[in-house]
């Protein structure tokens, strides 16, 4: 029996004591290093999880880690989570540069979520930026937020400041041309005019917006209902025609006008989107040129 106890004790000693004494576990620094590697390789899901673990176990640099986690979620398109972590980075740091990065990141997230007013509110706190890169980023984001709010004059001014930061004179002219195109499209495709035109003559609003098939469809439908009304009035009585066909007539008459308004707005937005994409291309080209010059 003693022999057995002795051997069990030796066994327990070997299996429990030695691994504890000499085994090597991952510490927080290594965890963050591992997460950094994952981040650099674009494995944002894993990186975010590991950064979160490091944060949970009390890693020292909460601000920088929060910023990294926020960037991970931003890249994963989890915008609400990224906003939360940008906020956490902002409130846990004393460094101005991290605060600025956090606000810019949060604003970008808000813009992607189409919360333009909230993004502008955040960006208004950063009006006095002295570093050129951050100044460009700030104006870039403000420009987009204003553009989203249809405040084109402010958007134009912000994009101008952006290209000024890149010292790209040609870009300024091209952006100016894009905004002229937007104003032209807004005058040319006015939804209110399309709606009124359709009320005067069904289908004309659709012609105004350049949708000829929809125009033919609306005209034919209204002509059909008009024929039905007249036919019933002739065959039976005017009152019966009014009761049977007037509700259909009213629905499709107003519906056609609404459709014309919607199509015109769609066309206007399409033009706006094209101009916006063109502006983004100009800014990207200026950015690439600027970075290659500085290198």
């Amino acid at each position: 029996m003693n022999w057995l106890i002795k051997h069990v004790l030796i066994f327990l000693l070997i299996t429990n004591f030695f691994p504890v004494k000499y085994s090597y576990g991952q510490n927080l620094n290594e965890l963050v290093l591992f997460s950094n590697v994952q981040y650099e390789h674009g494995n944002f899901e894993l990186a975010a999880n590991e950064y979160n673990r490091a944060l949970f176990f009390g890693y020292k640099f909460e601000d920088r880690l929060s910023l990294k986690i926020a960037n991970c979620y931003f890249n994963l398109n989890k915008l609400e989570l990224s906003e939360q972590f940008y906020d956490r980075a902002y409130f846990s740091t004393n460094s101005d540069s991290i605060k600025t990065e956090a606000v810019l990141g949060k604003s970008f997230s808000l813009i992607l979520g189409k919360k333009f007013i909230l993004a502008l509110t955040e960006l208004m706190n950063l009006d006095t930026l002295s570093i050129n890169n951050q100044f460009i980023k700030l104006n870039f984001l403000k420009g987009i937020a204003y553009f989203g709010l249809h405040q084109d004059k402010f958007a134009e001014a912000c994009f101008f400041r952006c290209v000024k930061g890149f010292t790209d004179r040609e870009g300024k002219v091209e952006i100016g041309e894009d905004f002229v195109r937007i104003r032209k499209a807004e005058r040319r495709f006015n939804p209110a005019i399309a709606w009124r035109l359709s009320l005067i003559l069904p289908g004309s609003g659709q012609v105004y917006s350049g949708n000829y098939m929809e125009a033919a469809n609306s005209s034919l439908l209204m002509a059909g209902f008009a024929y039905l009304t007249v036919n019933i009035a002739i065959e039976y009585t005017f009152v019966e025609a009014l009761v049977v066909a007037s509700s259909f007539f009213q629905r499709y008459f107003v519906g056609g006008a609404n459709m014309a308004e919607k199509l015109t707005l769609e066309r206007q937005n399409k033009e706006r989107n094209n101009s916006f994409l063109s502006i983004m291309k100009i800014l990207e080209a200026a950015d690439t040129k600027n970075s290659s010059n500085s290198n």
């Binding site: 620094n29 963050v32 929809e214 469809n217 609404n258 937005n269 989107n273 950015d287 600027n290 970075s291």
Partner: protein, 136 residues
Amino acid sequence: MKVFLTLLIALFLFIGEALNSQAQILVNIHRLDTLFEPEKRPDYRAFARGSKNEIESTFSTMFLFYKKFISSQDIDACVFEPSCSVYAIECIHHEKNKMVVFMKISDRLMRCHGLASPKSYKIDKKTGKYLDAIED
């Protein structure tokens, strides 16, 4: 050693961000490509694809014709999400017993009016309409 390693990682975290911002200022610019894209109109052809027999094919064709040429010119009067026509075509495709299909569509059409009680339905946040999909 531990302190040195911690500082090294912190430096790595910081320099990584700084280098990134130096290389290109407007990173992630391509994520904005679809930001102001006009909303695409719903494609109803998907409802016609699952037709298993002639009756379903006929109704699917009628549905597509209605959606393309008639409903598009109508005011937005249906109080439900999905609309009555979509509900009807889904019923036709999903329900085997045609009598039940007829009953369900009739029931839905009778419930679709401006006085429908808000207490009886959940509200779709996007459209503000009452949610009433077919039961599986």
